[in-house]
């Protein structure tokens, strides 16, 4: 007979591992990726592949250099690469995407200790760094189906950069289906919504943060006189709300905290869009709320069942 294994309880198995969670996020992003290929052409496959491969490679190298276990098997680097790609314009030169992957994985994630330890969302931070470093490349938008007439590929403004009086303002349906300029994966609200609902049904994410985010933004837009539906559908709201404001490591754990996080994102996005000089504020709002997360966490601790209140100044 084998030597018996003695270990503390529990002894039963749970089948949802980190890699399963990450795989589900990848699955949830497939519709958005497919739509990006449909709208922006083969270059979007290339850019996504560059991001994923370079993210996984950087993860591998970092772990090797730091003499830690190899963690590429948990698929979190794949998710980061995929989300980063969804945040880039299709015309971006691949070498810039590689720099983005380096920032996301090496600097934001691994320098802080790897999965679960980073205080800011790697893909968001990488997007912001690239936007500040390469402003023209990062805002060179094209219209969907530009690849059909490569000779007269014109820059197309994103829906949010258009002046509100513009003649060719996008219809709700165009925005919902993603027929507008923008980053690879952020234009098609329908695909992102499908992915988000998939994650909620699979209980991978809690709907609190995305709903609070989208709701707050819609409400504030309506109050301020902007078109709430347009504000919600345009830009990176759905991508940010469902895939980045729900990141485990950088958002609060409790549902109450998630709601506060979402409301904060909504307010900051609105303020940047309405009063700021940037047309888009989703990335900044999430990054700023990431930084606030430890404080939100402190304020929203669970009340323990049957716990007595701590007696202060006990001698």
């Amino acid at each position: 007979m084998n030597k018996l294994i003695v270990s503390p309880s529990p002894h039963d198995e749970n089948y949802i591992k980190t890699s399963v969670i990450m795989l589900n996020v990848v699955i949830a992003l497939v519709p958005a990726f497919v739509m990006s290929v449909y709208y922006f052409g083969w270059r979007s496959i290339m850019l996504t592949a560059v991001c994923i491969i370079s993210c996984v490679l950087f993860e591998f190298i970092c772990r090797k250099l730091m003499k830690r276990d190899n963690t590429i098997g948990d698929l979190s680097a794949v998710v980061t690469g995929l989300i980063l790609a969804m945040n880039l314009p299709v015309t971006l030169p691949p070498w810039i995407a590689v720099i983005g992957s380096f920032i996301a994985i090496a600097i934001v994630k691994q320098l802080f200790g790897g999965i679960g330890q980073n205080f800011a969302n790697p893909a968001i931070t990488a997007r912001i760094v690239l936007m500040v470093s390469f402003p023209s490349a990062m805002t060179h938008w094209v219209y969907p189906f530009w690849y059909r007439n490569p000779t007269d590929a014109v820059s197309g403004a994103t829906p949010l950069a258009l002046p509100e009086t513009a003649v060719d303002v996008y219809s709700y349906l165009d925005l919902f289906l993603g027929k507008s300029g923008g980053c690879l994966g952020e234009t098609c609200a329908a695909a992102l919504l499908a992915g988000g609902i998939y994650l909620i049904i699979k209980k991978i994410i809690n709907p609190a943060a995305p709903l609070a985010f989208i709701g707050t933004l819609g409400l504030l837009s309506a109050v301020s006189g902007a078109d709430p539906l347009y504000q919600i559908l345009a830009g990176g709201v759905f991508l940010g709300a469902f895939f980045m404001a729900t990141d485990y490591a950088t958002t609060p754990i409790s549902t109450k905290g998630k709601v506060i996080f979402g409301i904060g994102c909504g307010i900051i996005t609105f303020v940047i869009r309405h009063f700021g000089s940037y047309p888009e504020g989703v990335s900044f709002s999430i990054l700023l709320m990431n930084i606030l997360t430890p404080y939100i966490e402190q304020l929203t601790r669970n009340k323990v069942f049957g716990a007595k209140e701590a007696v202060k100044n006990e001698k």
Binding site: M1, L4, S9, P10, H11, D12, I21, V304, A307
Partner: protein, 425 residues
């Protein structure tokens, strides 16, 4: 009413329709002097003594204890040091059986006139919590504060185990009889028999039996682990909260296991102390899972062989359920009073522990609202003040946090280690 959180487990109640079979008398039994929570007993026999069934072989003066009786007739062949699954050492008696199972003259129905004689009889029966904790029953039934409801715990919320369920299906009259006995003796106006919803047959039977008795309520608990945990079952069936540092009796409640109640009834009518018990033998290495009634002291390995277990493949043996049971180092360890299940596993989750991804699943499932991920962080830096604030001492080690952790972190284990850091006042 709002219920405390719980997790959905695979029930794996493979043996729920397996009627209890009597295990043939083993050649030898090993009876430890500590099968209950509390002070171990001192020996009343020595090697070469002959003993009979029901004869008291261990007792002690301390009130927080329960006497030990011989489960067989035969000869004491050895007195050994025995290390139980918790790692504690006590004396154990090895008895070689003579196969006659002669009943001791000591065994006769107790004479009960009042509460005092009842509690004395309960102590003499050797009863302790048969659900697994082994709390001496005579202490439990003698609280310092008035009790207005007694909860009969028939949740049996752990996977695999069906021993309590079989008790309910096979001996329902003993259970109702026991409930009435305790109610009358202790003057408790109301009893709640709390059963998980995954046992509809039992709920149906008892609802019918208690139809005309408005002092016994049958309460259906959701099938979510850990319904059987004391604080959880009290809150979910009565809405009362047992606060930090309180006992159930402080909120007017006693919680007692259903098999213990049935045993007490049988003892009051026959006088036969706690010398046999029913347990579920199951697990993925067991060829023929069964419910078995056997004498206390039967070596586990005999039961496993009887249930056609492929001993070559066994990697882990668990005394109790998979969530809170103890994995044991030696298959020759005996059945004790608290053995409600014996599981033999050939495969189990041995994947590597990875980094916490802060998914919050451990926080989401904790029935008491603890934050295991935060406790783990505070434990690593030995921040005792923080651990106090996080109320780690309330953790009941139900194991839900470890179970759901996608990174395989041993959170429940860490909670127990963290508890040990906090100095007792």
């Amino acid at each position: 009413m709002k219920k405390l959180k719980g997790i959905k487990l695979k029930h794996r109640k493979n043996t729920q329709n397996s009627a209890t079979v009597d295990f043939p008398l083993p050649e030898k039994v090993i009876i430890p002097m500590s099968m209950h929570m509390g002070v171990p007993c001192s020996l009343l026999v020595k090697p070469k003594d002959t003993v009979k069934v029901g004869q008291k072989i261990g007792d002690c003066d301390a009130p927080f204890s329960a006497p030990v009786h011989s489960s067989v007739s035969g000869t004491v062949t050895a007195v050994t040091d025995y290390r139980n699954a918790m790692g504690n050492v006590c004396k154990a008696v090895e008895i070689t059986t003579d196969g006659k199972q002669e009943i001791s003259e000591e065994v006769k129905p107790p004479v009960i006139t009042d509460k005092e004689s009842f509690l004395k009889a309960v102590r003499e029966s050797g009863a302790c919590g048969l659900g697994g904790a082994g709390f001496p029953t005579h202490i439990k039934l003698n609280p310092k504060t008035p009790i207005d409801v007694i909860i009969i715990n028939a949740a049996e919320c752990e996977p695999y185990i069906t021993a309590d369920y079989r008790e309910m299906m096979e001996c329902p009259n003993d259970i109702i009889g026991g409930i009435n006995y305790i109610k009358n003796m202790l003057n408790i106006p109301r009893a709640i028999l709390a059963i998980e919803s995954n046992k509809p047959e039992a709920i149906k039977n008892f609802t019918r039996m208690a139809e005309n008795d408005d002092t016994i309520d049958i309460f259906t608990l959701p099938s979510k682990y850990p319904q059987g945990a004391e604080k959880v079952i009290i809150y979910n069936s009565t809405g009362r909260t047992v606060m930090e540092g309180q006992l159930p009796s402080d909120v007017g409640v006693i919680v007692i296991n259903v098999s213990t109640v049935a045993f007490l009834y049988r003892y009051m009518t026959t006088g036969m102390p706690l010398v046999t018990r029913r347990l579920t033998v199951d697990g993925n290495a067991v060829g023929e899972p069964k419910n078995i009634r056997t004498v206390i002291g039967t070596p586990f390995i005999k039961l496993l062989e009887y249930c056609k277990t492929d001993m070559e493949s066994v990697k882990k043996i668990i005394a109790g359920g998979p969530m809170m049971g103890m994995s044991i180092p030696d298959p020759n360890m005996p059945v004790v009073k608290t053995s409600n299940a014996l599981l033999a596993l050939k495969s189990y989750d041995d994947s590597r522990t990875a980094s916490c991804i802060r998914c919050g699943r451990c926080v989401a499932v904790c029935p008491l609202g603890l934050m295991p991920a935060e406790i783990e962080r505070a434990y690593k830096i030995k921040n005792i003040e923080e651990l106090r604030e996080l109320k780690v001492t309330l953790c009941m080690n139900c194991g839900s946090c470890t179970f759901v952790c996608p990174a395989n972190r041993k959170l429940a284990e860490t909670n127990q280690l963290a508890k040990a850091l906090i100095p007792r006042k």
